[in-house]
Symmetry: C2
Subunit: 454 residues, 2 copies
């Protein structure tokens, strides 16, 4: 370091809602912030399902992290994958994209590494029912969903076609509801006119939920509305139903009416999350507890037991049983930024973190959402407008806000199209290979898809 | 086929400019059109370099082919890869994305399969210097270009950093000029503020061209302007210079001043194209000649010798020495549609294809282009405006036109950003692996990148 007195070094692991908000809160502090993320972008996850549905291009919700913080001259972004947190030596170890080792010494460490999918111990299901946490995940889901319709169009055999037209979403939290709503919209509203051999409205779309209701944390009125609305959108909602098995072409689940196997080529996992493995690493070094989802218990000020210079925030912590959504991470990030600044000013008596519940919302489909915010519970297009307005506010950058507004307006006007329907051929290939689809046995079924074009 | 009398079956191989225009020209004909493409989209190639540069999301220039033709009820799109044209049995053989065999019998066949990169017999260069023909190619180029700056930021060693900051574009046709202009804009205008350890304006950017000038087919005035403008944008233009060797980290080329090797991690190939292998397949079955670039010689009405029911158009044919750009393919497509309709009406005396030269244009960089159209030769921002206006006209769909207009306006206003800068981590990994970058040998060079943040 070239300056006379070394500045206080803050290393932030993760450039999501938590990490970005810590960084920004330190904008005018006399510190040196390094944000390490294994992607080059800050992802606005609440809109990620719209990438999977072909509505939004990922760029609008995933600005380059280093661009977001470009004006904050005391911060820098590094593209690297953190694999070791050495609390004893106060150093973070990471790898660059080419495997190059990086060592980042710190005075204060903030770990905001988020969460990933959890298959409840059935990790082999990951290949049968992918989840959606990253831009790449969303793009692959888009590939899968759209190419399922393509494969149905190519299928000569009616039962194979039906398999390609069957979609099962596991988990009816906000992500599951939003994804299943999009699949229903694609099948019933967007795609029908584009296909010749296939009637996409014949698609069978199931939503499985282990608890007794869709959107468990929402108010009963909103849950009822969501259930009814999904049913009207031709989604079969199965509550108290758990996936019990999967293979290349089918999924088995058990509900109140017993066990059932459905042949379905496209399965989407939105059921469980598990904290980043870095949570366990912190727990091992500090004796902090972790819960079933691998989330670490932090002190009321987000520090770790016996390591007051180490903070953990966001989806990887179990603080006050907050939900794994954006708001807790954002608020914890801002709070930790304040704590760090106060400490540098010599003030150690910071009140513990307090969460301000700003409500929750989820879209169901075309001009329909449920929202529970500002003390009111709204549904339908009012909920949809509220949802849109709030998400617009939280997006980063006016360019992205206007671009998203335009794209939504376009999706409402041209409701029979989606602007971003590219299938990556290599991935379509992977998918079908992954699905284990085999070419039909004989030349009899190998001819062109049946049915004349009109 | 369920109708009483089978309709005339037209199979179109390729959904690019040629194939799409044949299909559209047959909209009101009593035929059944099947367009087969191995991607699900119609690609507007003239703007593909803007995807590689992070300006446009690919969706805006690559609408789903089946959506583009959705209202044309006598046409359908199939996602399949054609591998055999059996002219004797009048059948096209293809494979679905899962390898499933498809047989498409035809009465009339139109082959519009385009072209791919050519490395002039040095196919091993493909991994060192990728080209740009598909959406995936453009996304990978974007990954490469953007992650080169990321790797430079991570590099501790100055000489390694310089390698990551050296870019070489091979070939100074419109694509090469447009790509090199974008790299220069990124390094000098867009990215400088986003990096801390690296000064991106130190980037060294070379453009190699085998002939004696940039943009060989353009008027001398426009070529001079382009050369000067690129030089002012800090691009080293080397004419009469041919690549003679490449490896993981460097490129060797030979020019008027002898042979030189430059260490450069990012090389981009824009030098040569070769017709689709289907051209050779047609040539073998008809005795038609092919030229050095593998393009097939067709009759003046785009049919093949002795096979009047088979047409070939676009980049894969060598008709009247037309350039491999959009206009010949579009015009040939429309023409062949007319020929097919006339024949069905019993009229065999169609005049041969005649090309109407609408001019040519290329962008150089920020608000600068050269255009030679309507009899005038313009440069600078007037050329840029003309270029933008014309490309806007040719885009498909108002949603895409407005979206592109918005994105361009955004790029002009927020000229220090690019809206679509996502790096796919897996690909960044591939890249560096592909580039053969090894982790530094000892722990001495493995520490965090040097230099304090300001």
């Amino acid at each position: 370091m070239t300056s006379e007195e070394p500045r206080h070094r803050v290393v932030v692991v993760g450039g999501g809602f938590g990490g970005l908000n810590v960084t920004r809160a330190l904008a005018h502090a006399d510190v040196e912030v390094t944000v390490v993320d294994r992607t080059n972008h800050h992802l606005f996850q609440p809109l990620l399902y719209q990438v999977a549905a072909g509505i939004l291009p990922p760029g609008l919700i995933a600005p380059a992290l280093r661009h977001v913080i470009r004006k904050q001259r005391n911060a820098r972004a590094l593209l690297a994958d953190v694999h070791d947190l050495d609390l004893a030596h106060r150093v973070v170890r990471a790898e660059g994209p080419d495997g190059r080792p990086l060592e980042l010494p710190y005075d204060t460490l903030v770990v905001a590494a988020g969460a990933t999918h959890s298959y409840f111990g059935r990790d082999e299901w990951a290949r049968f029912a992918p989840g959606m946490k990253t831009v790449e995940d969303a793009r692959r889901l888009r590939d899968r969903i759209l190419s399922a319709f393509e494969m149905a169009e190519l299928a000569g055999d009616p039962s194979e076609r039906a398999e390609w037209l069957t979609f099962v979403v596991v988990g009816a939290g906000p992500t599951g509801v939003e994804l299943v709503g999009q699949v229903a919209e694609l099948a019933h509203q967007v795609l029908p006119m584009d296909y010749r051999s296939v009637d996409t409205t014949e698609a069978r779309i199931l939503l499985l939920e282990g608890t007794e209701t869709v959107l468990p944390p929402f108010a009963p009125k909103l849950r009822r509305y969501t259930h009814e609305r999904l049913t009207r959108m031709h989604v079969e909602v199965r509550v108290e139903t758990l996936a019990t098995g999967m293979d290349d072409e089918s999924i088995t689940f058990k509900g109140p009416e017993g066990e059932e196997t459905v042949r379905a080529r496209t399965r989407i996992w939105a059921a469980g999350v598990r904290a980043s493995p870095l949570a366990r690493m912190l727990a091992e070094q500090t004796g902090a507890a972790t819960d079933r989802a691998g989330r670490i218990a932090v002190n009321p000020d987000c520090t770790l037991p016996g390591r007051l210079e180490v903070f953990a925030i966001g989806d990887m912590v179990s603080l006050n049983k907050l939900p794994g959504v954006a708001q807790p991470a954002i608020q914890e990030g801002k709070y930790v930024g304040k704590v760090i600044k106060a400490r540098l000013a010599g003030d150690e008596r910071i009140p513990p973190f307090k969460y301000l519940d700003k409500g929750s919302m989820a879209t169901i489909g075309y001009r329909s959402a449920v929202a529970d915010a500002f003390g009111v519970k709204v549904t339908g297009w009012i909920g949809y407008a509220m949802w849109g307005f709030i998400h617009m506010l939280y997006l980063i950058g006016w360019g992205n806000r206007l671009g998203t507004l335009y794209t939504w307006a376009r999706a409402l006007v041209f409701s029979k199209n989606r602007g971003h329907r590219i299938i990556t051929f290599e991935q379509a290939h992977d998918q079908t290979t992954m699905h284990g689809a085999e070419p039909p046995p004989g030349p009899s079924s190998s001819s062109a898809p049946p049915g004349p074009v009109e």
